[in-house]
C-alpha cells in the first residue's frame, strides 16, 4: 500500500475498510465517541476473519482501534489516546457451541448477555454472572471489564467462570488460550489475562464458560438499620456462619428514605429454602450477637415468622438480573 490511508482522509480509510467487512463501514456519529474521542470510521465485522483483517490493516497503517461491545462501560479506564477505527462487535452474536450436558458454552463477543441467558434457560442453565445492564452488555464487554454482580459471592467472578478464549491480537493474528473443558492446565491462562484487560491486549472473538443450573427458587431478606456500620458487622457474621448466601449487598444510606439496608439472597431447591427459613433461630443468634443499633431498630415485618427484624424486601437495582427466579 503506497499512501497511508490515515494520511489521506477519513473517506480513504472507510474505502479501505469496506471490502474487509462486507461494506459494513460508516462515518462515526456523535454517539460513537469514546470519552470524547471521535473515530474516523465505524467498522462492523461479521466474522473472525473480518476482525483480523481490520486489525491487520490498522497494524500496518499505525491506526488506533477501539473495540466496542454493548457500549455500556466505555468510560472505564483512561480515556483512549486517540482512535481511528471503532470496531463494533455487535454482529459477532452467535452461540458457537452449547453443550448442556457438560455445562459449557462458547459464545461470540457481541452476543448480549440477556440473549445468551435466554438460550441457556431453555435447558435450565445460566451463566452465573449478573452484572449491571444485562440487556445491553455483551459477552466480550463483560469479559473485558471483568463485570460481575451481587452473586459473585457464591459463584465467583468472570475469572472463575471463563475457561477459554479466542482473541485477535493487535496484528490480526488469531490465538486461543484455555479450552472448552472445565479442568485444564495446559499453557498460560490467556482467558484470565484478557479478563478485565479493557480491550488493551487484543480483541476478544469468543469466550467459553462453565455454567450452572438455574436454582429452583430464590429468596431475599432485607434488613434495615439507622446507619451502615451494624449492617456491615452483620455481613461478616453471615459470611462467617454456615448459612450459604448467594449474595449480600449493603446499599442505601442515611439520607435515603428507608435508610441503609442489607439484602441477603438465598438460592436453591425449594425445600432447601424452607429449611433455611426454618433456620431463623440461627439468624436470631447471629442478630443477637450484632451490635446494638441493628438490634434496636428492627422493623416488625408481617411475614417475619416471629423474627422481627427480617422482612421480605425489594433489593437494590442490580439485584434483579436473576434468570427465572423469584423474589419474595
Amino acid at each position: 500500500m503506497g499512501v497511508s490511508v490515515r494520511a489521506a482522509s477519513p473517506e480513504a480509510l472507510r474505502d479501505a475498510l469496506g471490502p474487509l467487512v462486507g461494506g459494513r463501514v460508516r462515518a462515526a456519529a456523535e454517539g460513537d465517541s469514546v470519552a470524547g474521542v471521535r473515530p474516523a470510521a465505524v467498522a462492523e465485522p461479521g466474522d473472525e476473519a473480518a476482525v483480523a483483517a481490520v486489525l491487520a490493516l490498522a497494524d500496518r497503517e499505525g491506526l488506533k482501534v477501539l473495540p466496542r461491545g454493548g457500549g455500556t462501560q466505555l468510560g472505564l479506564g483512561h480515556p483512549p489516546a486517540g482512535g481511528d477505527i471503532l470496531l463494533d462487535l455487535g454482529r459477532l452474536g452467535a452461540v458457537v457451541e452449547y453443550a448442556p450436558g457438560d455445562l459449557t458454552v462458547t459464545a461470540q463477543a457481541g452476543l448480549r448477555l440477556t440473549d445468551l441467558q435466554a438460550a441457556l434457560a431453555k435447558e435450565g442453565q445460566w451463566l452465573a454472572l449478573d452484572p449491571a445492564l444485562p440487556l445491553a452488555a455483551t459477552i466480550g464487554g463483560i469479559v473485558a471489564t471483568n463485570a460481575s454482580g451481587p452473586r459473585r459471592l457464591r459463584y465467583g467472578g468472570v475469572r472463575d467462570q471463563i475457561i477459554g478464549v479466542r482473541v485477535a491480537r493487535p496484528d490480526g493474528t488469531i490465538a486461543r488460550g484455555g479450552g472448552k473443558v472445565v479442568k485444564n492446565v495446559a499453557g498460560f491462562d490467556l482467558p484470565k489475562l484478557f479478563t478485565g484487560a479493557l480491550g488493551t491486549l487484543g480483541v476478544i472473538i469468543d469466550a467459553t464458560f462453565r455454567l450452572y443450573p438455574i436454582p429452583a427458587a430464590s429468596r431475599t431478606v432485607v434488613l434495615t438499620a439507622p446507619e451502615p456500620a451494624p449492617l456491615c458487622d452483620l455481613t461478616l457474621r453471615i459470611i462467617g456462619s454456615t448459612l450459604i448466601a448467594s449474595a449480600i449487598d449493603v446499599y442505601g444510606d442515611t439520607t435515603s428514605s428507608e435508610g441503609p439496608r442489607l439484602a441477603v439472597r438465598f438460592e436453591g431447591r425449594r425445600r432447601r429454602l424452607r429449611i433455611r427459613r426454618g433456620a431463623w433461630s440461627r439468624w436470631r443468634v447471629i442478630l443477637a450477637q450484632g451490635r446494638g443499633p441493628c438490634a434496636a431498630k428492627r422493623r416488625i415485618g408481617s411475614s417475619g415468622a416471629g423474627c422481627p427484624s427480617i422482612r421480605p424486601g425489594r433489593p437494590s437495582p442490580g439485584w434483579s438480573a436473576a434468570p427465572r427466579s423469584s423474589c419474595c
Binding site: 453443550a99 450436558g101 457438560d102 455445562l103 459449557t104 435450565g124 471483568n146 459473585r152 465467583g156 467472578g157 475469572r159 472463575d160 482473541v167 491480537r169 493474528t173 488469531i174 490465538a175 486461543r176 488460550g177 479450552g179 472448552k180 473443558v181 472445565v182 479442568k183 485444564n184 492446565v185 495446559a186 499453557g187 498460560f188 491462562d189 490467556l190 484470565k192 489475562l193 479478563t195 478485565g196 484487560a197 450452572y212 443450573p213 438455574i214 436454582p215 429452583a216 461478616l236 459470611i239 462467617g240 456462619s241 454456615t242 450459604i244 436453591g268 431447591r269 425445600r271 432447601r272 429449611i275
Partner: protein
C-alpha cells in the same frame, strides 16, 4: 517474536566457583548446596524418569535472599529453577543443565491468619495441609486438596494450579489465591493481586497461577479459606458397565446437584485397588462410582436420596452409604491407592492425565480400549468424573522387547484422543518437561507464539525455568515417560490420585 534459549546461545563459560561464593554471601552457608552427592537429591521431581543434576542449589530464607539469588543468576547468565517439595509429576522442577535450583523449603512460615476476612498469608514452602491444620480450630479449611497435600508446597500448588478430588465443587488453586509476592526474572519484587477479590488492572495473579515456574519465583501467597461443611455423605454405587456410571454422573449434574466429588473406576482399576488395599469394593462390578455430598445436613440428606435414585435409574446393582468418617476413609482408600495399586496387576505402567468433555466418557473409553487392543496393551481407568479429568493407566511389561516403547506411544495417542474430543492434554499434572511435545496437538503455532509473548514479558532472558511447557523444535514429538513410584509413595506418605 524471537525466543532466546540459553542452551542455544553460545554463552561464555560460567565461573561456578565464583558464583557459588557470591551466592553463599546472599544465602549463608546453610543456604547453599554445592557437593555433588547432595546435589543429586535435586536431580528429579515426581517424574523420576527424567534426571539432570543441577550446578548448584540455593535454599533462600527470605524474599530478599531469593531476589539476591535471582540477580546473581542474571548477572552470570545462568538458568535457575524454582522448586517447592519436588512432587510435581511433569518434570517442572527438574533442573536444566548448568542451572541453579532455588528451593523454597526454608520459607515455611504462615505469616498471617485473618479469620473474619477468611484469608491466610503464607510463605511458598508451607505445605498444603498445614494451612487447613492451622485454620481448622476456627471451622475453616483450605479447599484445594491434591492427594499429595501432606507434602506438596503452596508455592508448587500455585505454579501448577493444582486441584484435588474436591475441586469439582470448590475450584482449583487459582480460585483460592488472592494475591502473590513475586521475584520477577531480573530481580524486581512485585505484589500481584491483593487482599481482596478484585484488584484493578490486569489479572496478573491469574496468569501467574499455573505458569509452572516460568514467570518468576513467588515468595508470599494470600489464600482464601473456606467454611467447613456441616455434613458429609459418601455413596458408593456399582454398575455393570462404565456407561451406567457415566450416565449416573450426567443425571446427577443434570439434576442441578454439584457433588463435592464424583469419581469413577473401571473394572481393571477396581481389581488393582482390591489387590492392594482391600477396600471391599464389589469384585464383579464393571465400574464403581463414588459420590461425596457436603453442605447443610438436611440439604445433604435430600440430595443423597436423589443421587441414590439417579444411580438406580442408571442401572446401579449395588448402593452403599458410608456410615461414618471411618468407613468414608476406607471407601476412599481404594480410589486413592489406585495409581500405586496398578503395580499389583502389571510390572510397569504409565499414569496419564487427560481431560475430555464429561458426557463423552463412554465413547472415549471405548476408543481407548480399542486403541489398547491395537497396541496389545491393557489400560485401566480412574476418572475425576465430575470434571472430565481422566487418568488412564497404561499397563506393560518392560521385559518384553519393545513393549515400553509401545506403551509410551499409546499413552501419547490417548492424549490425542482427548484433544480430538475437544479436551486437554493435562487437567492437573501440568505440561512441564513431559508433555511439552504435545502442546502442538492442542495449540496452533499462533496460539503458542502468543503464549510466548507472555513468557517474554515476564521472563525475556528465558533464564527462569527454561525448556519447560512450550516445545522447542528439537524436542517436538517427545513421548511421556513411564510411571515409576515416587519415593513418597514408596514411603507410604502420599498416594497419587
Amino acid at each position: 517474536m524471537t525466543v532466546t534459549d540459553p542452551a542455544e546461545t553460545a554463552a561464555p563459560p560460567v565461573d561456578y566457583a565464583q558464583l557459588a561464593r557470591e551466592l553463599e554471601a546472599v544465602v549463608g552457608p546453610q543456604g547453599l548446596i554445592a557437593r555433588p552427592e547432595q546435589l543429586r537429591v535435586y536431580e528429579a521431581d515426581g517424574l523420576v524418569a527424567y534426571r539432570q543434576t543441577p550446578a548448584l542449589v540455593t535454599l533462600p530464607a527470605t524474599t530478599e535472599e531469593v531476589q539476591g539469588v535471582v540477580r546473581l543468576c542474571h548477572r552470570y547468565g545462568v538458568p535457575y529453577v524454582p522448586r517447592g517439595s519436588g512432587t510435581g509429576l511433569s518434570g517442572g522442577a527438574m533442573p536444566v543443565a548448568g542451572s541453579v535450583v532455588i528451593g523454597l523449603s526454608r520459607m515455611q512460615r504462615i505469616l498471617d491468619v485473618d479469620i473474619p476476612n477468611q484469608r491466610v498469608v503464607v510463605q511458598p514452602g508451607v505445605l498444603n495441609l498445614w494451612v487447613t491444620q492451622r485454620v481448622a480450630p476456627h471451622g475453616y479449611y483450605y479447599a484445594p486438596d491434591p492427594s499429595s497435600q501432606q507434602v506438596c508446597s503452596i508455592g508448587g500448588n500455585v505454579a501448577e494450579n493444582s486441584g484435588g478430588a474436591h475441586c469439582l465443587k470448590y475450584g482449583f488453586t487459582v480460585n483460592h489465591v488472592l494475591g502473590l509476592r513475586v521475584v520477577l526474572p531480573g530481580g524486581d519484587v512485585v505484589d500481584l493481586g491483593g487482599p481482596t477479590l478484585d484488584s484493578p488492572g490486569y489479572d496478573l495473579t491469574g496468569i501467574f497461577v499455573g505458569s509452572e515456574g516460568l514467570l518468576g519465583v513467588c515468595t508470599e501467597i494470600t489464600l482464601r479459606i473456606v467454611r467447613k461443611a456441616e455434613a458429609v455423605e459418601l455413596l458408593l454405587a456399582a454398575f455393570p458397565t462404565i456407561d451406567g456410571a457415566g450416565e449416573a454422573v450426567s443425571g446427577i449434574i443434570g439434576a442441578g446437584i454439584v457433588p463435592a466429588a464424583a469419581e469413577i473406576m473401571d473394572a481393571l482399576a477396581i481389581e488393582a485397588a482390591e489387590a492392594a488395599v482391600h477396600a471391599g469394593y464389589p469384585p464383579d462390578a464393571g465400574a464403581i462410582l463414588l459420590v461425596e455430598l457436603d453442605g447443610h445436613p438436611t440439604e445433604v440428606a435430600a440430595q443423597y436420596a436423589r443421587v441414590e435414585a439417579l444411580c438406580r435409574r442408571a442401572g446401579a446393582t449395588e448402593l452403599r452409604k458410608a456410615r461414618d468418617a471411618e468407613e468414608r476413609l476406607l471407601m476412599w482408600k481404594g480410589r486413592k491407592a489406585a495409581f500405586a495399586a496398578a503395580g499389583r496387576i502389571s510390572p510397569n505402567y504409565i499414569v496419564q492425565d487427560g481431560v475430555i468433555p464429561r458426557t463423552l466418557l463412554p465413547q472415549v473409553l471405548r476408543d481407548i480400549a480399542a486403541l489398547g487392543a491395537d497396541y496389545g496393551l491393557r489400560v485401566a481407568n480412574v476418572f475425576h468424573a465430575g470434571d472430565g479429568n481422566l487418568h488412564p493407566l497404561v499397563l506393560y511389561d518392560d521385559r518384553n522387547e519393545g513393549e515400553e516403547h509401545r506403551a509410551e506411544e499409546l499413552a501419547g495417542e490417548i492424549l490425542k484422543i482427548c484433544v480430538g474430543y475437544g479436551g486437554s492434554i493435562t487437567g492437573e499434572h501440568g505440561v512441564g518437561m513431559e508433555k511439552r511435545g504435545y502442546m502442538p496437538v492442542m495449540f496452533s503455532e499462533a496460539d503458542m507464539e502468543t503464549h510466548q509473548m507472555i513468557r517474554c514479558a515476564f521472563n525475556p532472558g528465558n533464564l527462569c525455568n527454561p525448556g519447560k511447557v512450550y516445545p522447542t523444535p528439537r524436542l517436538c514429538g517427545e513421548v511421556p515417560g513411564k510411571y515409576r513410584p515416587h519415593p513418597l509413595e514408596l514411603a507410604g506418605v502420599a498416594d497419587r490420585f
